[in-house]
Amino acid sequence: MLWKILHEIEAAQGPLDLNELSRRLDVDRSVLDGMIQFWVRKGRLVDDASVAGQATTVCASHTCGRNCPSSPACPFTMKLPRTISLIPLDAD
């Protein structure tokens, strides 16, 4: 079952909706979340939200004032959908 997740992601010709993956594998969403977390811990999948969160620390622009894009207060930041990427086997 675990391998099927990776196979489905690899085989998809584009981003795969989490609900769609749940239907394809006939697995409950909550169970699927647990399986995905296993692969995240194993290093085969990466939760992009955590990557972006770690990186956002320094502000490069001194012209924006309190609109600094590194700040959560930046009005132009948009809540992007959560994405979970497959790490290629030959990745560093």
Binding site: G14, P15, L21, T56, P75, F76, K79, P81, T83
Partner: protein, 577 residues
């Protein structure tokens, strides 16, 4: 232990693969042979955890004095399993447990609506459809700009009227009362601050309307789908599909969009997306499009603006394709899962907050960056560099420092149809912030304000004008809503008269382009869309990708913009004969 609990325990036992089961037995036996360890942990559970490679637990076990034999047996077991499972012994164990859980759930849980398709799923079947998805995305984009332009036009005219009449009159009266009227101070405030900052502030209703529609799309969950829909065409030309997510942010502002590239895993993807993101038309460029579309394409203003946004996406995809096959080659696109939020009715509070905060940011920019640039620009326009009798504040604009610098750069833009020093000066100052382009145009043309030509008015008359014209503008805005779907409640052509600035730009562009003003105007819009991003975006690019790639972005975008504007102007001239 009671009988039912024992029974439950027996039911929960399930076997792993035969090879693993044999090793569990061996390790369990070793644990049973270590009394202290066996007293603390259940043997089978511990054997499974150790075979799975639980490092923390292994460290704890190692502290037991009788764990030596267990660890030795464990190492032998793992060595025997290695040829069968490689490094994935844990996967085999966990997989079997999930399979067991799945089977239990299927046997024990009755889901009456297991195959029920939710309303969100039904909508997604159409909205994210491989064929229909892109036309729907384009249609929604068109609706965004149609609503933005049509609904905001009356209020835009109202602010323009207020700035040109009552505000200027009030300022003049105040200066006269302190005996500063008629001098360079009045010129600085009227020709510098009011013309510059006011020239940008008139676009507040446009920004308000744009941010309102974008906030609605964002809050209802569509923007996430837009990224999914655009993934397919991007992937087909070898780009990472996820790259479109930061690009969507770029429709608001390039700076957070550049930072949003951090969501991409590898540097190559981040760099490529960061280079492409500024091609997405940020909201600061919108005032330029609105002004030029109203001047040169008044009947098709929404279409012209919509075309700019589409062109930005198309150029980003084209440049991405080029870079993907030259400087930034990649082996294969990334694969990923996306968690799409369910559709929901937009929450008024969220929409209002986003709309207000983004518009407030635009206004803050007007009072900080644009005000500063307007004042600096006024001084540069007031300092003479040539002209026999020119003095500070009494110089022909083309003989000022700014006029001379802009005039020196103007030949670069001559093949694009806008080789006047006014246009080149606006583009130079636009490097600070894109809103400044319109502010500079308003200043360099030193527009004769309509109120100056009309009889003097009293303060009371001005106040009455502000109130009555606002009421009329609101009424016109309400009338514009049914007009978007083809119902004209006004019944008559109530198109606004071109302003002095519009007439000045039209005349100048026609002169600079040899009578092809509309083509030159279109080329100018294309140039503003694509050329070097603002200072803040350049700083963000330097921070994220380093100095070398910052220069690639700055110079590369300038070259792309020049080439695209050249094709538009010269190609258009050739086509029109």
């Amino acid at each position: 232990m009671t009988a039912p609990r024992l029974q439950a325990r027996a039911t929960l036992y399930f076997p792993y693969d035969a090879a693993i089961e044999a090793e569990i037995e061996r390790v369990s036996a070793a644990i049973d042979g270590a009394p202290q360890l066996a007293a603390k942990y259940a043997a089978r559970w511990l054997a499974v955890q150790l075979l799975e490679g639980d490092a923390a637990l292994l460290a704890k076990v190692s502290d037991f004095p009788d764990a030596g034999q267990v660890i030795a047996v464990l190492a032998e077991s793992r060595a025997r399993l290695q040829p069968i499972y490689g490094d994935d012994i844990d996967v085999a164990l966990v997989d079997r447990r999930y399979a067991f859980v799945h089977r239990v759930v299927q046997d024990a849980v009755v889901q009456r609506d297991a195959h029920r398709v939710s309303p969100s799923d039904k909508i997604d079947r159409v909205v994210t459809h491989p064929v229909l998805g892109i036309p729907i995305f384009l249609a929604l984009m068109w609706l965004v700009f149609k609503m933005t332009i049509d609904a905001s036009a009356p209020l835009l005219d109202w602010i323009e009227l207020v700035m040109a009449g009552p505000v200027t009159n009030l300022l003049g009266a105040l200066l006269n009362s302190v005996r500063l009227g008629g001098g360079w101070v009045e010129s600085l405030l009227v020709d510098g601050v009011v013309a510059g900052v006011g020239g940008v502030l008139v676009f507040i209703p446009v920004m308000f309307a744009l941010y309102l529609v974008l906030a609605v799309l964002e809050d209802c969950g569509y923007m996430a789908r837009a990224a999914m829909v655009m993934d397919r065409p991007m992937r087909k030309i070898g780009l990472q599909g996820k790259s479109f997510l930061p690009m969507v942010v770029g429709f608001g502002c390039s700076v957070p969009a550049i930072y949003a590239t951090r969501t991409l895993e590898n540097r190559r993807d981040r760099l490529l997306t960061g280079l492409l993101t500024p091609f997405m038309s940020c909201s600061a460029r919108l005032p330029v499009y609105v002004l030029f579309a109203a001047i040169f394409f008044p009947q098709y203003a929404s279409l012209a603006i919509f075309a700019m946004y589409l062109l930005g996406i198309a150029v980003a995809i084209g440049i991405g394709f080029l870079l993907n096959h030259t400087l930034l080659k990649t082996s294969e696109p990334s694969h990923f899962i996306m968690e799409l939020p369910p559709y929901r009715l937009p929450m008024l509070r969220n929409v209002w907050r986003q709309m207000w905060e983004r518009t407030a940011s635009f206004i803050r920019n007007a009072w900080t960056i644009i005000l500063t640039v307007s004042i600096v620009l006024w001084f540069l326009l007031a300092i003479p560099v040539r002209g026999e009798h020119a003095t500070f504040g009494a110089v022909a604009i083309e003989d000022s420092v700014f006029g001379a610098v802009a005039g020196a750069a103007a030949p670069v833009f001559a093949p694009l149809g806008f080789g006047s020093w006014q246009a080149s000066g606006a583009l130079i100052s636009g490097f600070v912030a894109k809103e400044v382009v319109v502010a500079t145009l308003a200043q360099v043309y030193r527009v004769e304000l309509p109120a100056a030509a009309t009889p003097p008015t009293t303060l009371l008359e001005d106040a009455a004008l502000v109130v009555t014209s606002f009421g009329q503008a609101m009424l016109d805005t309400l009338k514009s809503i049914p007009r978007m779907v083809g119902i004209d409640l006004a019944g008559a052509d109530d198109a606004a008269e071109p302003t002095a600035l519009m007439r000045a730009v039209q005349t100048d562009f026609a002169a600079a382009s040899g009578g092809h003003g509309a083509l030159a105007g279109l080329a100018f819009m294309v140039f503003v869309l694509l050329y070097t991003p603002c200072m803040a975006a350049v700083a963000a690019a330097k921070h994220e990708f380093g100095v070398k790639w910052m220069w690639v972005s700055v110079l590369g975008q300038f070259a792309v913009a020049w080439l695209a504007a050249f094709i538009v102007f010269q190609g258009g001239r050739w086509l029109l004969g």
